[in-house]
C-alpha cells in the first residue's frame, strides 16, 4: 500500500487477489477488475450517485486524470485507478 504521495499505477493487491482502492479516505476492496462508477460511489456512501461524477486521481489527494459518470465502467486494473474522489456533477450558466 502506498503512502499519501506515492504514485500507484493500479489498485491490484497481488497477495490477496483483490483490487484495493480509495475514494477519498474510504478504502474499498473489489474482487473483479471492472466495476461501475455507481457501485464504487455507493460503497463510499454516496446516496445519489447519478448526481455526481467519480474522478480518478494520479495519486492520493492529487489531480484528476479521468472521470466516470454513474453507469461508466471503471477498469481497476488500469493505470491511475487506485485513488478517486467524488465531485458534484451538473451545472449551467446564467
Amino acid at each position: 500500500m502506498g503512502t499519501g504521495t506515492e504514485r500507484q499505477e493500479t489498485g491490484k493487491d497481488v497477495k490477496h487477489g483483490v483490487f484495493v482502492i480509495f475514494v477519498g479516505d474510504i478504502e474499498e476492496k473489489w474482487d473483479e477488475p471492472t466495476v461501475t462508477a455507481k457501485l464504487i460511489m455507493e460503497k463510499a456512501g454516496v446516496t445519489e450517485p447519478d448526481k455526481f461524477v467519480l474522478e480518478a486521481l494520479d495519486h492520493k489527494g492529487g489531480d484528476p486524470v479521468a472521470e466516470f459518470s454513474t453507469n461508466d465502467p471503471v477498469d481497476l486494473s488500469a493505470k491511475d485507478r487506485k485513488f478517486f474522489r467524488v465531485t458534484p456533477g451538473g451545472g449551467g450558466r446564467s
Binding site: E48, K51, F52, V53, E55, D63, P64, E67, R85, V86, T87, P88, G89, G90, G91, G92, R93, S94
Partner: protein, 139 residues
C-alpha cells in the same frame, strides 16, 4: 475583510470557511460581501495551465450550504485545457466583478449550480471547489 466582519457571517458559512481552510487552502478568505453573496478567494484553485495567475473568487451565498454557489471571478481569463480560453459563461469586465475589482477581479464566469446536487453540510464546500475545478477543466 476584517475578522470582525467575517464573524458576522452565519455560523454554517463560517464552518464551511473553516473546513475550506483546513482541507484545501489555509489562505482562503472572504474579500467582499455583496447582496446575498460572499466573494471567497481561493488561491489553490486548480487550473489548466501552470503559468496562469493563481486563484479565483468563488461566489458563495452567505446562506451556504442552504443556497447554491453562483459564479466565479478571476483576475485573468481562464485558459482552456487544450488551447484558447474557457468560453463557458465568460463575461470580461462584468458588473459582478465590481465587489473585487479593486483587487483585480476582472473576469466573471456565470456558472450556476443547475442540475447539481444541493449542498447539505458546511463540509460540502470541498465538493464545491472540486466542482469549480472540474468546470475550469472542461471549459
Amino acid at each position: 475583510m476584517s475578522d470582525l466582519v467575517e464573524a458576522d457571517l452565519p455560523q454554517p458559512f463560517r464552518d464551511a470557511l473553516r473546513c475550506l481552510r483546513e482541507k484545501k487552502d489555509a489562505g482562503a478568505r472572504v474579500d467582499a460581501v455583496s447582496g446575498n453573496f460572499a466573494y471567497v478567494w481561493v488561491e489553490k484553485l486548480a487550473k489548466n495551465n501552470a503559468l496562469e495567475s493563481a486563484g479565483g473568487w468563488l461566489r458563495l451565498p452567505v446562506a451556504f450550504p442552504h443556497a447554491n454557489p453562483h459564479g466565479l471571478i478571476t483576475r485573468e481569463a481562464l485558459r482552456g485545457a487544450s488551447e484558447g480560453e474557457v468560453g463557458d459563461g465568460h463575461h470580461a469586465g462584468h458588473d459582478m466583478c465590481k465587489p473585487v475589482a479593486g483587487i483585480g477581479g476582472a473576469h466573471y464566469y456565470s456558472w450556476t449550480w443547475e442540475n447539481a446536487p444541493p449542498p447539505r453540510t458546511p463540509e460540502d464546500i470541498i465538493g464545491v471547489v472540486q466542482w469549480y475545478e472540474r468546470r475550469i477543466r472542461k471549459g
